[in-house]
Amino acid sequence: MTLPVAALALRRLLLVPLVLLAASAVVFGLPRLLGGNVTRSVIRSRSLASAPDPAAEARLAAELGLDRPLRDQYLAWLAGALRGDLGRSFTTRAPVAPQVLGAAGVSATLAVLALAVALAVGLPAGVSAADRPGRVADRAVDRVGSVALAVPEFVIGPALVLVLAVWAGWLPALGWGTADRAVLPVLTLALFPAALAARLVRAETRVALAHPSTVTAVAKGLSRRRVLAVHVLPRSLTAVLAEAGPFLAGTLGGAVVVEVVFDVPGLGRTLAEAIGSRDLPTIQAGVVVVLGVAMLLTLAAELASRALDPRLR
């Protein structure tokens, strides 16, 4: 690909609304076509009646607009979405847009904090591991790293709760909103990317250390620390940057496990709950937000690595 950056960015940006339109049509249509009786599951989520009265069912279908032809339903939703109105929740009847955006804000905070922690640990560990092979940092990246890469979030999360919250009592086990409550979810989320970042940076730093520009920097008489921080590190970030965009996007809508385990009111949990109660407007809104952000972040990561690494231009 030798496209100029601006042309690439423009082409990918133009793709975003098209993909969102296609995705919204799929997420809108398929559950209504294949998903069985939506009204019945909505009633079930509101009351304990297992076989609801047909008249009540018909009333609810009319109220939710589910009795109209599918095409009319979709066009009405689309017209609303273009004005920023994403409809009302089937279960709570509250407007969906503010709810989903609020949840997305929580998830975004979680994702950014986790990424910051992961980079703050992973980058120095990776550089130092490559700088002194066989020493503490190098071995830690190997051993602690392989544990961190192998243990899934739904194991590490409950384990951290048990050790740090229940036994030691240092931190609250659940919730969101205060700094101490953010510690455990952020740690749980940061573990995997920290280990991955350390590995990727170590591999790239090994190459960068052998590069002639490093020899020049050392020959100029710069301190070891300065050579590593100013000359070597920027050359070692290509892979990490490429992974950072998808990680942020994935955490925005896909940190479901952490949000469920720690009771964080984020987008992933909102989506999972909406799926459980077949709350279609919330599902549609969440999917559109997550997909849009995921595409923009992937593009941003690509542009950033092109800006940093002249070889990719």
């Binding site: 993909v19 544990v147 899934p152 409950p158 996007a249 896909g254 496990v257 799926i275 999917v287």
Partner: protein, 273 residues
Amino acid sequence: MRVVGLFALVVLGVPAWPAEATDFANRLDPPSGRHLLGTDQLGRDVLARVLGGIRWTVGLGLVAVVASLVVGLVVGLGTGWLDGTRARVVATLVQSVVDLVVALPALLVGLLVAAVLGPGVVPAVIALAVMGWAPFARLAHRLTVAARAEDWVLAARSLGAGPVWILRVHVLPAIAGPVREAFTARFVGAVLTLAGLSFLGLGVQPPTPEWGAMLAEGRTYAFVAPWLVVAPAAAVVLVSGLMSSARRPRRRPWPAAWARPRRSRGSSTRSRG
């Protein structure tokens, strides 16, 4: 790859462990001689359930990855082989779909498929396969494009071999090494995603002994019966650790393996010194 084969054997070889037998007189029993890993809230033997879970967690992961591999290879080999302007447009389109799918988080796709089809085993495996084919397609595409330029492909072509024959007999064995590596790596990912989906109640449903689902069930009893949480968690970590440690290639590529009797001693001492 050998480890994958081992897991496949275990999955097929553990047909019906009595994982469902309940014993209400002995609920939440701690580990003992009779129940090595204790019993759960319904008096079911935890060891039997963990062993029975191999079938679900590892077996379904394997099914999903094999399906992804087949689809990904067909797409990748096909688009990698296509030449000429019109064919290249098709290949570019397919590859941009691949790029899009690769960028999506696995758990999110699992959520979406569950949103459309409802939670369950089949939707979870479909979600894994929907996600999984793209990385294989991308890898196979790149490797095929590189292989197409080789002289032996030209030789096969000039002998009159058709594209399907060349791809199957010449290109596929040549690109098998990296594909095999990717397969092992993706297998771990598939097992973890599946367990994660089941943990959230969107994949395999209780009372089926799937490790993620067992973990979610056991969390309620974590304080009175920690073995309910520890056993499935340990099983997941053990499998994913085993798989990732087996990720590094043990065998050398063909030519180097041939040269081994003469060279291996000298080169290995040199690399150590």
